[in-house]
Amino acid sequence: MSGRTPRLLLAALAFGYAFLYVPILTLIIYSFNESRLVTVWGGFSFKWWGELLRNDTMLDAALLSFQIALVNACVATVLGTMAGFALARYPRFIGRTAFTGLIAAPLVMPEVIMGIATLLLFVALDQLFHWPERGFTTIAVAHITFSVAYVAVVVQSRLADFDRAVEEAAMDLGARPSTVFRTITLPLIAPALVSGWLLAFTLSMDDLILTQFVAGPQSQTLPMLIYSSVRLGVSPQINVLATIIVTVVAVAIIIAGWLMNRTRRRQMREAQAVR
């Protein structure tokens, strides 16, 4: 058990971690930089945090991204759950193959192609019905289109190892199908819904390519703003913003991981007890 880890392995591990985390750490440290140059340390200060809070363009973009991510995550979770159910519960229905392909497409299709396709659709719609105006709606719809796929896959795999007898038992005890879903199915697949929601939220939050296609001239999401401002010359405000995002994402991932871990442990305990 207490065998010594070879030095070379330890070194490789340290190098790997350093490669992954040192840039992020640097980025966080430099968000407290006094200097206006991103790469030169000029002393500790909250100056750029203050600057960021006064930067309306940046805050608007952050707000827009957050709103889109929120709407996207909720809608995608609902639609993705329905799709996951269809795939897991109905082995045969007309057009199942096409449906499976449709769900899987966003997972494998290059985002550029999806971007062009979606843009063409919106342009055509706009010409025909003068709706939707490109902006919040189009970005949200585009994000939902691909987020649904991720949620569907997560929900489907959760349902695949779901004991149908539990639902039958509930029905046998007098619960109508809607009650069965509310009191049994939903609580049991909740971890999948939570991780699906978080996944959809994160995917939307940092999507750039697809967003750039479908965003109108008026709307700018956070990734778009960061990308364009980097090209114009980086302000340390970016570091501050990145620090905030990293923190939010890290917290979300930790929560999701903890939730999944808990269910896995519970399942393992159950499996062991059965034996």
Binding site: E168, M171, A273
Partner: protein, 360 residues
């Protein structure tokens, strides 16, 4: 069987696409019975049970419970509860909440629910575990929670799908008795599916032996064992020596049967079969007696093998006619085992009443 039939299954057929799972079953189950559907895997017993619960709808035929046609009534509206093979406990609820679930669906007052849950917990002696989650319980405890959850609604019929299959052998034997006692105490009609003939024999008041979607025989355990109506049933229940023969005559309720494997003509009770012609006979291994070669009637043969099982031994004997026979003998005396050894020349004998005649 009690006077009024509680469950009436009327010409029920169930087909899944091209597969016929249940191929025409007529059955009446009386109030207060502990009825067992016995058969191998794929014989249709589980499908029949699931149709009683309402999870499957018969392709043809009707099911009546207490004179009400429930053929198309959904599971949640039937006066029937089921105990699942996997127990199907709700993993996200405590034991008490699991048991309360069915009562909550009836929207009973909270106080009544609490009281009945407590009664059910006492019934299965799990009061101390009320606040545990299913995964914190042993297999036997989960089985009891499943049972409590299924009886707490006081159903007219309790369906049990392989109720003891997941328990180890010792626990299974004890639970068989407990279940049968509980059934007596509650007076609920039990319909149980099992592939384990010992379980069916030990617990059931009546057994239906199923094969290929049909019922082959219905009767009390002793009836099915002692008077099998077909080779399938004779072979399926217990050990059986089955031979083919031919009725050659009858007199005074006894048949004369020509049975070459047993070395010529034997006699057997008629049981309503007198028509001359080919038949099969069965003799249970414990109804044959085994003697060292020497004086007396019976067939001569040689012990090919002895399977020692502790309480009894199974002797595999090859007769001079070439027929293979199994004979069980209690090892009543410690020195019994070994008196007749392998390769010994022996004679087997039986009373005419031990022979059961069946259609071939």
């Amino acid at each position: 069987m009690t006077a009024a039939a509680l469950i009436r299954i009327d010409g029920v057929v169930k087909r899944f696409n091209d597969v016929t799972a249940v191929a025409g079953v007529d059955l009446e189950i009386g109030r207060g019975e502990l009825f067992a559907l016995l058969g191998g895997s794929g014989c249709g017993k589980t499908t029949l049970l699931r149709m009683l619960a309402g999870f499957e709808t018969p392709t043809e035929g009707r099911i009546l419970i207490d004179d009400v046609d429930v053929t198309h009534v959904p599971p949640y509206a039937r006066p029937v509860n089921m105990m699942f093979q996997s127990y199907a406990l709700f993993p996200h609820m405590t034991v008490a909440r699991n048991i309360a679930y069915g009562l909550e669906r009836e929207r009973l007052p909270k106080a009544e629910i609490a009281e009945r849950v407590m009664q059910a917990l006492d019934l299965v002696e799990l009061r101390a575990h009320a606040q545990r989650r299913p995964h914190q319980l042993s297999g036997g405890q989960r089985q009891r929670v499943a049972l409590a959850r299924a009886v707490v609604k006081r159903p007219k019929v309790l369906l049990l799908d392989e109720p003891l299959a997941a328990l180890d052998r010792k626990l299974r034997e004890r639970t068989q008795l407990e279940l049968a006692e509980l059934q007596q105490r509650l007076g609920i009609t039990f319909v149980m599916v099992t592939h384990d003939q010992d379980e069916a024999m030990a617990m059931a008041s009546r057994i239906a032996v199923m094969d290929q979607g049909r019922i082959r025989q219905v009767g009390a355990p002793a009836e099915i064992y002692e008077q099998p109506n077909s080779r399938f049933v004779a072979d399926f229940i217990g050990l059986a020596n089955i031979f083919e023969g031919e009725i050659v005559g009858h007199a005074d309720g006894m048949l004369r049967i020509s049975c070459d494997p047993l070395g010529g003509e034997i006699s057997a009770p008629a049981n309503g079969m007198t028509q001359a012609g080919p038949i099969a006979i069965v003799i249970r291994p414990e109804k044959l007696s085994l003697h060292k070669e020497g004086a007396g009637a019976g067939c001569a043969g040689k012990v090919r093998n002895i399977v020692y099982l502790g309480d009894e031994s199974i002797f595999h004997v090859t007769l001079e006619t070439g027929a293979a026979v199994q004979i069980t003998r209690m090892n009543a005396d410690r020195r019994d085992a070994g008196v007749i050894a392998r390769s010994d020349a022996v004679r087997i004998a039986w009373a005419p009443e031990a022979v059961v005649v069946m259609p071939r």
